[in-house]
Amino acid sequence: MSWLDYPFFRRALVAALLLAPLLGALSHLVVARRLAFLSTALGQAALTGLTIGLALGETHDESGSPYGGMVGFCLLCALAMVWVKRRAALPTDTLIGVFVAFTLGLGICLLVAVTQRFNVHQIEALMFGSLITVTDGDLWLLAALDVGVGLLLARVYNELLLDSVAPPLARAAGVKSARLDYLFVVLLTAAIVLSLKIVGALLVEALVVIPAAAGRNVARSLRSQLLWSIGVALAATVGGLSLSMRFLVPSGGAVVLVLAGLFALTFGISCAARGRGHREDALR
């Protein structure tokens, strides 16, 4: 019997194929805008959002997904982080660290309260990713998100790029930096929340950051970086699902292991391609 004979694996595979181009495309902008740590914060906020959703009566089983709590809380956190970042004089990573601590603290408190009423495995699946929790509804949501994010990104991509690379030039060109900041975190939040069933809240950052990092190791232009990012995300999600089936391990962990392997491979290629000079200090 082939894995493809299992409906849950087919659904997970389609989800992976839908996720890879979405996260691959967002990935190189996340790295360019230095928002890697933000994606970690959003993953943890999703966990807190899940517990809020469950506490408020949402279900997390084959009949439904608690997207209300996750999307709502993640969006709130993402928008609050951008709002504070644009007003505070502190470095961005310090501010995000404050939010990470807050969401994690709140999440842990709520988790204890919620697990007294719900099966802890429901939460575990969201923490580490689980193939069997992907529903047909998730696939439709992912397909819609692919189209929506793709269209919006295409519309604002050049402005986002200029604002990421050279903010003063973007402002001189009339780019509305604040609007882009908010729009981008909204798109990122939506993509992260819908990735959780495959990758899990604790590991979602890897799928948002490593494809672009691996792409940077070998790309020589923006176009090649985009293609590398999407290719790495695709190979990691499909490869990770296969590993998960083969060794019966959580899909999130398996996807991240493949990602790490691909990063190491591209890093090796970049090292091999670089010329090595020789310097000698002749001390007398």
Binding site: A154, L162, V165, A166, L169, A172, G215, R216, R220, S221
Partner: protein, 219 residues
């Protein structure tokens, strides 16, 4: 100290502009200036006098009190060559892709269009970097990057051009080309604010000079 052009309508007007950074003394205090349309106005003064701060306030990069009025036509743009451009040098971005980002609607990660490629080639040729389109922007020298930024700022012709120490690091040929391009832009109606410590350059190019600390540019 100010030498100005009388009789021309203002394009930029700074009125009682004060910029503070934290609780220290203001970077700029109660600064007022009227820059006439179609002229090159030089801002001079010692390090820390507030020249760059003034340009950054004009761009909305720093908070200020007072008012800054820019008289712009619909669709008129601002060109800017910053004193320093700090960017992520690991980003795989070619000079052509960077310049195409503001010259085509299609996302540049999907490729540079033929029309944008032609425009990029023309602007690069104008600053003597005709073959730089495919080079990674991170591989440019300081002087080359300045020339790319100048090319970026000058096309399409801006209504207002802000040049902050834009000649730093340029070799003799590039400096001559810079002066020609700036003169051409002014002749075409662009209003230019030039920050410089180069007294000879200011003397050759400026229609008006304002010193932010009461001193002139270094000889």
């Amino acid at each position: 100290m100010s030498r100005s052009v009388a009789g021309l309508p203002p394009r930029v007007e700074f009125s009682q502009v004060t910029v503070r950074a934290g609780s220290g003394p203001p970077l700029l205090q109660d600064f007022s200036l009227s820059v006439a349309a179609g002229t090159l106005h030089a801002l001079v003064g010692r390090n820390g006098a507030g020249k760059t701060t003034l340009l950054r306030a004009l761009l909305g990069e720093v908070e200020f009190t007072g008012s800054i009025r820019i008289d712009r036509q619909r669709g008129g743009s601002i060109g800017y060559v910053p004193q320093r451009l700090e960017f992520d040098r690991t980003l795989a971005l070619t000079v052509g892709e960077f310049l195409a980002a503001t010259r085509q609607r299609r996302p540049v990660c999907l490729g540079v269009s033929a029309a944008a490629r032609a425009r990029v080639a023309a602007v690069l040729a104008s600053v003597g970097l005709a073959d730089a389109g495919q080079r990674p922007i991170a591989a440019l020298s300081g002087g080359e990057l300045r020339r790319v930024l100048l090319a970026h700022a000058l096309e399409p012709r801006p209504e207002l051009l802000l040049l902050d120490e834009a000649t730093e690091g340029l070799d003799r040929a590039a400096l001559a080309r810079f002066e020609e391009l700036v003169k051409t832009a002014r002749a075409a109606g662009t209003t230019i604010l030039l920050v410089s410590h180069d007294a000879a350059l200011v003397a050759r190019l400026a229609d008006a000079v304002t010193s932010l600390d009461g001193e002139g540019p270094a000889p």
